[in-house]
Amino acid sequence: MIKIIAGICFFGSFLAFGLGTLGLYRFPDPYTRMHALGMGDTIGVGLVGLGLFLLSHSWILRIKLVVIVLLFWMINPTMTHLVAKAGLIHGIQPVKDTKLRRDE
């Protein structure tokens, strides 16, 4: 039973990673691509952590997995924010009809 639930979690994480990659190809603009990839990675890592948490048999492994997932949930939005800010500083324009776009 636990293995079935873990398998569902792994499949969901694969789906989330796949949707993030699909968004990376289909969106028109670097910022929207970044958004899609950030969301997909966050939910994918969370689901993989949940599945491995259910599968693991000792508490030290579970504590390590929780630390990894929480740290990833802090690191990935920070990285996305910094990359987006660097893009705005470089002057990479967002897609049309956006508030941050500068038409000169």
Binding site: Y25, R33, V45, L100, R102
Partner: protein, 145 residues
């Protein structure tokens, strides 16, 4: 997974630099997840620590690449947009004369894509204006060439 190859393709064909950065970030996260899964599949649980350290190193590496690639200070200014006009340097300890120079530099940076010539001109102008004070910033921009 196959998805790593797809993300790597985006990193190769990506039109701007932040596409490449975010693709590399995604690749590292996927690799650390694969290390975790391999550790559980082969029942060698020491690799959980390997995934942990790999993720931290990827974060620090990404920060370093961002710092090298981005010229100037980190204050975001967009003239004409409310809230992003950037009056003053909160939190940075630059002097008054350096403040003027930094603002001038950042105003010139806006709209310039990633061209080496403009950076070169701007660096020369900055050195004319400010003397030796901003030489450190100029050398940081020099890494782009």
């Amino acid at each position: 997974m196959i998805l790593i190859l797809l993300v790597l393709l985006r990193a190769i064909i990506g039109p701007t630099i932040i596409d490449r950065l975010i693709s590399i970030n995604a690749i590292t996260s996927k690799v650390s997840i694969i290390i975790l899964l391999m550790a559980f599949a082969r029942e060698e649980y020491g690799f959980v620590d390997v995934a942990f350290v790999f993720m931290l190193c990827a974060f620090v590496g990404g920060l370093w690449i961002l710092k090298v690639v981005t010229p100037g200070d980190w204050q975001l200014r967009i003239p004409g947009l409310k809230g992003f006009e950037g009056d003053g340097f909160e939190g940075s300890k630059l002097g008054a004369d350096k403040l003027e120079g930094g603002r001038l530099k950042a105003d010139k940076l806006e709209g310039s894509g990633f061209k080496c010539d403009e950076h070169e001109e701007e660096r020369l102008e900055m050195e004319d204006l400010e003397g030796d004070k901003l030489k450190g910033d100029g050398e940081e921009g020099n890494l782009l060439d």
